[in-house]
């Protein structure tokens, strides 16, 4: 199990480290301003996709664990289901807001374009 996990993590790390090299190799041919723009745009879009993907991954796991404990609590004590539901909803909103921060960063990169183009 440990070996499998470390293999997966290693391959993901290699993938992340090699992506800029791939793009740099493409642009090293002819660096006109238009192609420089394309390189920036490609990296920006990749960054936004990765940001949301990873954020949703973490949020899914976090909310899933919270939800499972809440369901267990209601199963043990159905009379307290009102309070447990309220606490669950508040907790889910808190965890969701972490994913929303990643979404806001992605929106800023795509629409506010802080580096010119």
């Amino acid at each position: 199990m440990k070996k499998f996990l470390s293999v997966i993590l290693l391959s993901l790390t290699l993938l992340f480290l090699l992506t800029p090299v791939v793009f740099a190799a493409e642009e090293a041919a002819a660096e006109t301003p238009a192609e420089g723009k394309m390189g920036y745009y490609a990296m920006a879009v990749l960054a936004c996709g990765l940001a949301i993907g990873l954020a949703a991954f973490g949020t899914g796991i976090g909310q899933g664990i919270g939800l499972s404990k809440a369901a267990e609590g209601v199963a043990r004590n159905p009379g307290a289901s009102g309070k447990i539901t309220t606490t669950l909803i508040i907790g889910l909103a808190m965890i969701e807001s972490l994913c929303i921060y990643a979404l806001v960063v992605a929106l800023i990169i795509l629409f506010v374009k802080p580096f010119g183009f």
């Binding site: 909803i89 508040i90 909103a93 808190m94 807001s97 929303i100 921060y101 979404l103 806001v104």
Partner: protein
């Protein structure tokens, strides 16, 4: 992305300001109507207003304790105003003022300042004890300094997260509706509208709840 023209538009004034005025006029008119026809046994609109007021009163009194009634106007106003603003975003042709970060910051920064003002007012200079941590002796000075730095960063993050959470939720809802409306019209955007109603209510409640908790943390008896 080209969006539809807004219903109210005063040139020279940003649209989110105009719609925050719309929300204010709505809240004021409901309040005046209820006040002028106040009965001991509530009927009609007074019922709804009493439910909302009682909900926020419960929230403040259970969290803050003896000073709950003092903070009730601030928290109830913030909660109801954010609720009305979020709902304005669901109406076609209108825009939610809370989907712009200026409206949210205009509410989060006074809350932040209010926590420190009331903390200093109730505790005097002992307010610094809230930042320093559980161990208080001259030998634990490095630990106290470290705790102070960490608590200060956490405090500065509060207005930031309060405003960005609300802004992100409202803008994300608007964008999802826009994009799904282009891709798959009719049924799925209606389901997202239902989710949008839920998110609007929950985010208004979460803002008011967090404000209550921050104020309770500032005015509680020091341990």
């Amino acid at each position: 992305m080209h969006e539809a023209p807004l219903f109210f538009h005063i040139s020279g004034i940003p649209s989110y300001v105009t719609y925050s005025w719309v929300a204010m006029i709505f809240m004021l008119s409901v309040a005046i109507v209820v006040r002028l026809s106040l009965k001991l046994v509530p009927t009609g609109v007074q019922n709804v207003v009493e439910v909302i007021a009682e909900f926020f009163l419960n929230l403040t009194e259970s969290s803050i304790g003896h000073m709950g009634q003092h903070f009730f106007p601030l928290i109830a106003t913030i909660g109801t105003y954010i609720l009305v603003c979020n709902f304005l975003g669901l109406i076609p042709g209108f825009e939610a003022p809370t989907s712009n970060i200026n409206t949210n910051a205009s509410m989060a920064i006074p809350v932040f300042l209010a926590t420190h003002y009331y903390g200093v007012k109730i505790h005097g200079f002992g307010y610094i004890k809230h930042f320093v941590g559980p161990m208080r002796s001259i030998f634990a000075l490095p630990l106290m300094v470290l705790m102070f730095v960490i608590e200060a960063i956490g405090h500065v993050a509060r207005p930031l997260t309060l405003s960005v959470r609300l802004f992100g939720n409202m803008t994300a809802k608007h964008m999802i509706l826009l994009i799904l409306g282009i891709l798959v019209p009719w049924i799925i955007p209606t389901a997202i509208l239902g989710l949008g109603v839920l998110v609007s209510i929950i985010q208004a409640f979460v803002f008011a709840l967090l404000t209550t908790l921050y104020l309770a943390g500032a005015v509680e008896e020091a341990h």
